[in-house]
Symmetry: C2
């Protein structure tokens, strides 16, 4: 361990209060967290301390200017109790990509990975083994430097916290294809995992929820003619036997689940296309019966098949297939994640 | 006082450490702050407490999902020591407009205004009387409710903090007309004073600063053909003797300085136009000599004349006029703000 991470152990544990058979998503936190401060142009040594409140100056720029980025990862435990991460260095790389766009400092891979692994080994009893559950990991970084001048802060904090979690969605998911609001601008920060991208989605999502939809499928802000992504998921569409998803651009998050699904689908012999997808194509395909599936893909929601979508005041149902691509692909990716199948692509990362 | 605001006085004061003749912008805070918590669907009674650190759960949604809005106001002291605000209920109304777009609760005008006035009376010695200085007031609201689920928080905090401040810019201001990055999407949150809108500007502004520009003039994200606003200011352009500014839309903040300047200009007999302004018009006007002035307008920067602009790799200087509109309009608006002239439009609000 080159970073000499210090560990201050919690005197108590909350683990006995957790019902591992009834986990919600991201609402109970483990006993410890990793904290790393950036000051005077350098990152200090990460430290692990008991999970607890932060003390922050009200002039810290996080409260004023939205310098806030995060990642979403999961730790999986196999039947033998071994702990795995899925493509974790991709999350690290994306965190740094987000940091650059938000004028925040990049974090060295060694700080991130060693900090994360040390934390996970300490919290290993918190990784659920109940089906469909995992330890959701939330690395996040924000501006602690102070000032009411609208300019980047001079100090930041990186924290990694963990939450044993069950499914992200409960029940059927219906989405609304958005025609008024948008999530991201050309030349904006949509491709970054920046806090502000999420707050901007809440109000339109609330309006959609009032009409009976759980999520929004975002379209381009200029024409609203092309589908982009959904809430915290990339979107896949199956027309006949072709599986397609939009190409990433500066408005779309380059999802790790998305790119893994593309690889697995190819490996399964499924025809894939990465190309712009018109809303009108979806509607036509729904009308003529060639639209077979739409599903969301993301770390939190894994693969979430949609029951239907709404557009222009009309609802379109999706068929219930016997052997949907979504189920096949979900089994393949989760089998890799939980160490139940061969790791053909070298994605698994054991924490030991 | 219907709200029974409680006041816990600070046992010490930092005021003797402040050099009121050399104030920077927004970097020294007064002894007290107003805090108001929103919980269980209702705002609690605002309280005034000593300015100091906040204690927050790391899972508070401010750190993850960017639910963060703010306002910028100033308190002015006249020669007799009377205290004035400028159109403060417009800031309150805009705070609520921002809150709605970010799915945050609206705050009653009485909480806001009584809280603000009580705080200002307590901090009255902190309001500078040195020329060009004022007490910058920063109301801000953010999500304290916890959870790693990307959905609106169930608890919020409103804080009002104050900072005796001098000029926002020092020296000449040159701007770059942006052709790659953008500030806001159609259907996005650009019209709200949301934290995330500012973080997204820092990186492009840093790139512009490396080329010698202090600010960016943002253009529409689709074509980059129309000028919108600059950093934390609306933009005015004078071609020959006509003063123009872009119409507000969902990408542009509806600035209180902007709308006041429009009124004052009309009152001065200056011809005004509120219409879309093409970058190519500016370039043509600069080339043929009809471009007389560009200035930014905002609470923090008041009226900031620009020395020139860069576009497409070329620099355009603005002439140094003897009696620019910017100086005339700045005198008119600051005379109203500091109670040195008749308040013809009823904008001044005395705190007594
Ligand atoms: C906006 C957005 N799109 C897509 C994704 C999916 O990305 P990943 O598969 O890397 O979790 C996420 C969630 O992480 C997201 O927040
Ligand atoms: C993006 C933006 N535009 C314009 C303004 C000017 O608005 P106002 O005159 O109300 O201060 C501000 C600052 O408040 C701002 O942040």
């Amino acid at each position: 361990m080159e970073n000499n991470i210090s560990i201050e152990k919690s005197k108590t544990t909350k683990i006995q209060d957790v019902d591992f058979n009834n986990l919600s998503f991201g609402s109970v936190y483990t006993d410890h967290m990793l904290v790393c401060d950036y000051k005077n142009g350098a990152w200090e040594t990460p430290k692990i301390i008991p999970y607890g409140n932060l003390s922050l100056d009200p002039a810290s720029k996080i409260f004023h200017y939205g310098q806030s980025i995060f990642e979403g990862m999961k730790a999986y435990k196999d039947e033998a109790g071994k702990i795995f991460l899925f493509r974790p260095t991709d999350n690290h790389a994306r965190l740094n990509k987000s940091a650059e766009r938000l004028a925040m400092p990049s974090i060295p891979e060694s700080h991130f990975m060693e900090g994360l692994e040390t934390l996970l080994k300490l919290e290993k009893d918190w990784i659920p083994t109940t089906a469909g559950s995992s330890l959701y990991i939330r690395p996040f970084m924000f501006a602690t430097g102070v000032g009411f001048h609208a300019s980047p802060a001079d100090a930041y904090k990186l924290i990694i916290a963990c939450a044993p979690s069950g499914a992200y969605f409960s029940g059927k998911v219906k989405v609304l294809i958005e025609q008024t609001y948008s999530r991201a601008a050309n030349g904006g920060v949509g491709y970054a995992k920046a806090g502000g991208n999420y707050a901007g989605q809440f109000y339109p999502t609330k309006l959609a929820a009032e009409k009976g939809y759980q999520q929004i499928i975002w379209t381009d802000d200029n024409t609203h003619e092309y589908i982009e992504e959904a809430g915290a998921m990339n979107v896949f569409v199956r027309i006949n036997d072709t599986l397609m998803t939009a190409p990433t651009n500066d408005r779309i998050l380059d999802g790790i689940t998305r790119k893994s699904i593309l690889k697995i689908a190819e490996d399964e012999g499924i025809q894939t296309e990465v190309r712009k997808i018109k809303v009108s194509e979806l509607v036509d395909a729904a009308n003529n019966g060639s639209l077979k599936e739409i599903f969301g893909a993301g770390t939190a929601a894994v693969i979430s098949p949609l029951a239907g979508f709404g557009f222009d005041g009309k609802d379109y149902d999706l068929p219930e297939l016997e052997a949907p691509f979504s189920a096949r692909l979900k089994k393949r990716i989760t089998d890799i994640q939980y160490n139940r199948a061969e790791d053909k692509f070298g994605w698994r990362h054991e924490v030991k």
